[in-house]
């Protein structure tokens, strides 16, 4: 069955929506998102340590989109713009959920899937050891690929929930949910 982006978006609008956006993930859009989220969290009764955690994880999620999201294929029912991504921050009972979605070429998706599987397979202790190893031994790069996902799992203490949908023969859509409890 063909991937239905609008249906996927609808499914992500559960709980109280704190922030959502869809479109080209530019530096300005990131600034706007972070400012808006921070202001919203400041108004709530969320404790400082959790507010910082939500902000930190959201920051990694949105910058992950900035560095890795591809331009969607013409077959996608979305705006065809560079670095297209969708982000939803919501609160559901006692936890916060950050949902992201983006299109990726299939050859890149394979690498991302392997990395996601690896990160999710690690114990809490291994996450810390591998995080330090990657931090120390990988060359600095604009996106510091790898550390971001490790950081999300480490900070939340939860596995990354993801699903990969087939868009067409060349592109897939990566859906990811990060929970902060």
């Amino acid at each position: 069955m063909k991937f239905d982006y609008n249906q996927w978006c609808f499914q992500k609008l559960n709980g109280d929506i704190i922030h959502k956006f869809s479109g080209s993930v530019t530096s300005e859009k990131i600034t706007e998102t972070l400012n808006s989220v921070e202001n919203n969290l400041m108004k709530s009764d969320i404790k400082l340590y959790k507010r910082k955690k939500v902000f930190n994880v959201l920051l990694e999620c949105v910058q992950n989109l900035y560095h890795h999201a591809d331009t969607p294929p013409l077959s996608a029912d979305v705006e065809i713009v560079p670095r297209f991504g969708t982000l939803v921050l919501s609160k559901d009972r006692t936890f916060y959920r950050i949902s992201t979605g983006n299109f990726l070429r299939k050859e890149r998706m394979k690498e991302v899937e392997e990395r996601l599987k690896m990160v999710n397979s690690l114990s809490d202790e291994d996450i810390v050891l591998i995080y330090r190893d990657v931090l120390n031994n990988q060359q600095a790069s604009p996106n510091s690929a790898g550390l971001g996902l490790l950081d999300m799992v480490r900070k939340t203490g939860n596995k990354l929930e993801y699903y990969i949908y087939t868009q067409d023969d060349k592109y897939s859509f990566l859906s990811m949910d990060v929970y902060i409890s």
Binding site: S27, K53, L59, Q63, H67, L135, A140, P142, S144
Partner: protein, 126 residues
Amino acid sequence: METIIREGSTKTPYIRFDGEVGLIEVKGRSIPENSIEFYKPLIDWLERYSESPLDTTNVNIQLEYFNTSSSKCILDILKKLELLYKKGKKVQVNWFYEEDDEDMFEAGEDYQSIIKIPFTMIEIEE
């Protein structure tokens, strides 16, 4: 040697790299999309400073937020300072974290485990 002072912004930290008094300060938020672009001149400054450093260099790092790409750049700074320490110069790193901010505390522990220089964790009240 010239002093680098940069005011903080919504995405970049306050910076003071002062070769006259041997003081390095990074404070605020370090969350730019391209951290390398931001930190490259600071790393270059440290390389020049290392050619004729003061006997003592104090380093104060007090970050509210930093992204993973900045974490690599901060490590690069600390590695340059570790070289100074290995040459016999006194280097003291003070890592400030807010009370209850376990993530920032753990980040300090990460650097402490990698870099072998005097490293003090200092808790500050919210």
